[in-house]
């Protein structure tokens, strides 16, 4: 409106009186306004990025207390690991690409922590293929990535309940031969972080695990959270 009125006013008027709503003033004002809005938006975005690297659950809920088997059939429950930061993921040992990549990255993350921090962190690999993965094979498999890693599996019902509780999914896909043991498993490739109070706090897509620095920063922040809480 004002722009229109300023246009009707004779801009190059010979009189020394300058119109109050000069179009130049408006242009500058609009440019400034856009700049301010953009910087605020960018600032907000940056602030959001300064939070956690993983996707934070909201609200934080008590993590499903899975009950699975470690080596020699020892039963392990998630609750037994309370007080530690637990990072776990689903997979199977015949997986040649995704699982070894994730476990190698997690081993790097674990080794980047201080010895003191490592005592408070447990990385767990849960096999969704109990048919081929005995707890013994699993043990040999996970410890080859890092001796501290825990490999768990169990009866199909216990695995299904666990996968379901964390919103995950998996399915067996038959291979090209008709052999009963020739199949692959399509599975969730997320890593779930359970905080020391037993709450499911952060979620990582498999492509994030390679970023050791940010993963370590998250684990440290979660460990600090506990120290800071009353």
């Amino acid at each position: 409106m004002n722009v229109v009125s300023s246009k009707t006013a004779p801009a190059p008027s010979p009189s020394p009186k300058r119109p109050f709503f000069d179009w130049r003033v408006w242009t500058v004002a609009i440019v400034l306004l856009v700049a301010v809005v953009l910087s605020v938006l960018l600032g907000v975005k940056q602030q959001a990025q300064q939070g956690f690297f993983g996707m934070r659950m909201f609200p934080l809920k008590t993590a499903y207390d899975f009950k699975l088997n470690a080596q020699n059939g020892t039963e392990i429950r998630l609750d037994q690991l309370q007080g530690k930061v637990v990072l776990f993921l689903f997979g199977f040992t015949h997986c040649a690409n995704i699982c070894p990549t994730s476990l190698t990255n997690l081993a790097d993350v674990y080794q980047a922590l201080t010895p003191e921090e490592r005592k408070q962190v447990q990385i767990v690999f849960i096999s969704v293929d109990p048919n081929r993965d005995t707890s013994q094979t699993l043990e040999q498999y996970v410890t080859s990535f890092d001796p501290s890693f825990l490999g768990l599996t169990g009866p199909k019902s216990a695995i299904d309940q666990t996968v379901l509780a964390y919103g995950g999914s998996y399915e067996m896909v038959a291979g090209s031969t008709n052999q009963p043991n020739d199949y692959s498993v399509n599975h969730s490739a997320y890593t779930y972080l359970i905080n020391p109070s037993g709450k499911f706090e952060l979620l990582y897509g498999n492509e994030k695990l390679v970023d050791v620095q940010h993963m370590v920063a998250d684990i440290r922040a979660v460990l600090r959270e506990r120290l800071g809480s009353p």
């Binding site: 015949h94 990549t101 498999y141 995950g168 498999n206």
Partner: protein
């Protein structure tokens, strides 16, 4: 006759002469176009058999624990030629078979599942690259007879088409990407 006018007419005559020359050149080029086309179009046919120009960068085989019966090989294939190529497989003495695989993603959000699928070939576009990397496309090495360890070198052959092309490689074995 051209006496005094010559100087005045000179610039426009020059322009006309220039245009005439350009027309001549153009006509000459057009007459040769057929020949040029023939040469350029026949080149790929002549090169197809033995001029597949593929170079391999940063190949590595993942070191895996003895309990695993398969592993993966990763590399970057660069096609410097003008013929599209395809990676169709490979072989190595330490395993039963080698197959190109793609990583599949199905579903959204928490329900998203990853899988892998065997494919007949992976394309390497002309003047393009094919990246085989962790979490992505790879050559799956199945039925391991030996488990090479970190630091070992493995003889490995990759097969490319067209032309039943083979490239023999010595691939380092590593737990982490070899750059």
């Amino acid at each position: 006759m051209f006496g005094r006018g010559e100087a005045a007419l000179c610039p426009s005559v020059k322009i006309r002469l220039l245009f005439a020359a350009l027309r001549e050149i153009f006509a000459f080029l057009m007459s040769r176009l057929f020949l040029f086309a023939l040469v350029f179009l026949s080149a790929p046919l002549a090169l197809a058999d033995d001029q597949l120009a593929i170079t391999v960068q940063h190949p590595w085989m993942r070191a895996v624990p003895d309990v695993m019966d398969s592993t993966a090989v990763y590399m970057v294939l660069v096609n410097t030629g003008s013929i599209p190529a395809e990676l169709v497989g490979g072989n190595t003495a330490i395993a039963d078979s080698v197959a190109p695989m793609i990583t599949t993603k199905e579903g959204e959000g928490l329900k998203q599942v990853f899988g892998m699928q065997s494919v007949d070939s992976l394309k390497i576009p002309a003047h393009g690259t094919l990246v085989l990397e962790p979490n992505g496309n790879h050559l799956m090495v199945m039925g391991l007879k030996e488990h090479p360890k970190e630091g070992d070198q493995v003889d490995f052959t990759i097969k490319l088409e067209p032309g039943d092309h083979e490239i023999h490689l010595k691939i380092p074995v590593s737990k982490k990407p070899v750059k």
